[in-house]
């Protein structure tokens, strides 16, 4: 089978294309020769095609069990479920690198579509994206080539990590990797415009790509949390593991960024700050890729190839240092005309939010790389567990949420604090009353109450705004149909705002879910013999039996529980553990029962020979709000990104 050699050849040819592309752009810019620019773009398009071809050959290698390719032998087996052979290629280090290169080539393809040839900020941006692409391709084809030939062909491969045999494997890794890679696009747009002396940093293009990157990162994070929740067996969705942190940190910075570029758009300020943020965001994204590749920071997630990690680290430092030096060099050209005039103004609050997000990112970064410090200084690797992050980051995140409920409803430029309080006090009181009422019904915790207050405070203001617009529309048009048209028109002309408000509501729902699970949740271990029961809050459960089935590559131990709630029987539910001797690893499938907002979660931790077992039982209140909220966030962001077609004056030039 020729998959291996074909794939290898095609990767190297694509590298050639991209190297040519860089030279062509360079000549094109230097001599203002548009033919070279066009040639460079064609070469980039062809590079995309070649990388797609290469990826397809790797996938076919997996699907056809071509064990002449070492990578295929290492990450698949004859017994693994067929459908997983289609996605196994991105489960390991080398293959995921190829995947990232292909993703970047597709993003590049989309980026240079329909862009003017003589637009130098685009051309410079193209150049920087290519630099990153070439670095990734060299790392892949030379240091971590997925098509490396196996010295001797085995009959059966090693198999795929059993934890990856889950629906989440189809969606989370590709989206997450795409998100981390995508950060290079807004970064390149910003730096590229700076090179081309484009004063406003190509703000419209920058905004769209920043939002798109942010949406992808958000989806990646949400999918990862959900996957962890269903497969890891401890009933939680976020453990502040180094790799989880490394995907969170770019997200935090991008969140800050998409707000501060709004200030640049509306008030022509914060350009230098924006550049700093996006450089830092790209740094974090590369940090994410570095931690993922293994190296000094151990994690459950990492691929574990240490030499490649250092290459990434080197590129990360070089690119960041270069960017900062260039930033300082061009700093004067970014100077603002306007400045923040008042503490209670939208730009001021966005700045505060930015600083807070930056703080969370830095604190998380310090905690994540702390083991590296302690190892080099004291030769002890101190791991920083989730308690630290929960304690330190939670108040900051709460503060951000509070600002979230204030800032969208405060004007730009300046505002009077006492007149603001006068206007909003009634709304705040109503929000507090509703929240307390809620807490009496759901029997809450004061953190949850606070989250409710913030949610209601924000939502009431949003509803009032919609009501005012409706009223305006109905005042103008007596006819119902015309009035509704006017209403929709007003919304449509301000889509970025209303999409943003929807996303904000989604975030508040997520926060509520997190508060509920963190502060109202209960967990306890129960040691039960078959036939014995346990009670936790208003749930009663009886351990019925255990079925053990032997499959070809794993042993499946399934425990059956009868679950009752409030005395009423809900039926029999199972939780299972699969032991894979080849990996010496357990994969758990927890029993999760969902009751609207609450989850009843149970998994077995130990089963003894006499079939007595220890069960971890957990009640997660409000957890569904996390997944629902994440969905709302994404919907809102997509609404925001929809391009609004304004009337452009078109002048025809012969």
């Amino acid at each position: 089978m020729i998959y291996g050699s074909l794939g290898d050849l095609v990767i190297k040819l694509s590298l050639g294309m991209y190297i040519y592309s860089i030279f062509a752009i360079f000549i094109g810019i230097k001599y203002q020769d548009l033919k070279f620019i066009y040639s460079a773009r064609l070469a980039s398009y062809f590079g995309t095609f070649l990388l797609l071809l290469s990826t397809i050959t790797l996938v076919l290698g997996f699907v056809n069990h071509d064990y002449s390719i070492q990578y295929v032998a290492d990450h698949s087996s004859n017994t693994m479920p067929y459908i997983y052979t289609w996605i196994a290629f991105y489960s390991g280090n080398e293959g995921s690198l190829l995947f990232i290169c292909t993703c970047l080539s597709i993003l590049l393809f989309l980026f240079i579509q329909n862009k003017k040839l003589n637009d130098n900020s685009i051309n410079f941006s193209h150049l920087f994206i290519l630099l990153f692409q070439i670095f990734l391709l060299i790392s892949t084809s030379i240091l971590a080539n997925p098509f490396t030939e196996a010295p001797n062909i085995v009959q059966d491969g090693q198999g795929i990590n059993p934890l990856l045999l889950h629906f989440g494997m189809f969606v989370h890794p590709p989206v997450q990797m795409l998100g981390l890679t995508a950060v290079v696009i807004p970064f390149s747009i910003a730096i590229g415009s700076l090179c081309a002396k484009n004063e406003n940093l190509n703000i419209n293009s920058l905004r769209v790509w920043a939002l798109a990157t942010w949406v992808i990162l958000t989806i990646g994070l949400a999918l990862g949390s959900w996957w962890a929740y269903t497969i890891l067996g401890w009933g939680g969705y976020w453990a502040w593991d180094p790799v989880e942190n490394s995907s969170l940190m770019p997200w935090l910075l991008m969140t800050a960024f998409i707000h501060s570029i709004m200030v640049q758009k509306k008030r022509n300020m914060f350009k230098g700050w924006n550049l700093f943020l996006i450089i830092f965001a790209f740094f974090m994204a590369q940090m994410g890729m570095f931690i993922n590749r293994g190296g000094p920071v151990p994690s459950v997630h990492s691929f574990g190839s240490s030499s490649l990690g250092w290459t990434f680290l080197l590129f990360m430092f070089v690119s960041t240092i270069f960017s900062f030096v260039f930033f300082i060099y061009r700093y004067r050209s970014l100077a603002s005309v306007n400045y923040v005039q008042s503490v209670l103004s939208r730009e001021s609050l966005i700045l505060v939010q930015n600083v807070l997000f930056l703080s969370v990112a830095i604190i998380t970064l310090m905690g994540t790389i702390y083991p590296v410090f302690t190892k080099s200084i004291e030769d002890e690797q101190i791991y920083v567990g989730r308690e630290f992050y929960d304690l330190v980051n939670a108040p900051i995140l709460l503060l951000i949420m509070i600002i979230l409920s204030i800032a969208p409803f405060v004007p730009w430029k300046n505002s009077n604090i006492s007149s603001y309080i006068n206007k909003k006090i009634i709304i705040f009181v109503i929000a507090v009353l509703f929240a307390i009422l809620n807490s009496w019904i759901i029997s809450g915790h004061y953190w949850v109450t606070i989250s409710f207050v913030v949610l209601y405070f924000s939502s009431i203001q949003i509803l009032i705004e919609f009501y005012k617009i409706l009223k305006t529309s109905f005042n103008k048009f007596k006819n119902l149909r015309n009035a509704l048209f006017k209403f929709l028109n007003i919304l449509y002309s301000n889509l970025s705002r209303y999409g943003g408000l929807i996303s904000h509501t989604g975030i508040l729902l997520v926060m509520l879910g997190i508060a509920g699970t963190s502060f109202m949740g209960i967990e306890k271990d129960f040691a039960l013999k078959p036939g014995q029961s346990g009670t936790l809050k208003n749930y009663q459960f009886t351990y019925l039996k255990t079925d053990i089935t032997q499959k070809s590559d794993h042993t499946n131990i399934k425990a059956v529980m009868q679950i009752d709630k409030n005395g009423k029987s809900l039926g029999e539910y199972t939780t299972s553990k699969s032991y894979y001797p080849r990996f010496d690893m357990n994969s758990t499938k927890a029993g999760i029962l969902n009751f609207g907002l609450e989850d009843f979660y149970f998994s077995q931790s130990v089963i003894s020979d006499d079939n007595s077992a220890v069960f971890e039982v957990k009640i997660n209140p409000l957890v569904s709000l996390i997944w629902t909220g994440a969905f709302v966030v994404v919907v809102g962001a997509l609404i925001s990104v929809i391009p609004v077609y304004k009337k452009k004056d078109k002048v025809k030039i012969k």
Binding site: I2, S5, L6, L9, V10, L13, G16, M17, Y20, A24, K35, F36, Y38, S39, L42, A43, Y45, F46, L50, N204, K266, R267, P408, F409, V410, P411, W412, K413, S415, Y420, K423, Q461, I464, E465, K468, I469, T472, N475, K476, I490, N494, R497, K646, K647, K648, D649, K650, V651, K652, I653, K654
Partner: protein
């Protein structure tokens, strides 16, 4: 077999790279492009201010009286200043809309 495929791809690569330097091709793609000079709406500061006032009113930050006061003082300012013609037209249009809403 592999060598043939490789050779084929390399040939296509070279063709793709050299295409723009062929005069016929270059004229062909330029002929179909109508060079449109698109000027996106250039929000002058004044337009921004008026839009801000409107958004604040719609989102409840300003009540009716405050809104009227702000629009009045805004009108005074722009009557005294020199603004780009197109921007002035758009501002006047917005102001007419506001007035007709009352």
């Amino acid at each position: 077999m592999l060598n043939l495929i490789g050779l084929l791809i390399i040939i296509i690569m070279i063709i793709v790279i050299l295409l723009p330097f062929n005069d016929n091709f270059w004229n062909y793609i330029n002929k179909n492009k109508t060079h449109t000079k698109t000027t996106l709406i250039d929000d002058s500061d004044f337009e921004l201010d008026l839009n801000s006032i409107i958004t604040d009113y719609q989102s409840g930050v300003l009540n009716d009286k405050e809104f009227d006061t702000q629009v009045e003082s805004f009108q005074e300012i722009i009557n005294k200043s020199s603004i780009d013609k197109n921007a002035r037209l758009r501002i006047e249009q917005l102001l007419t809309e506001i007035n007709s809403n009352k």
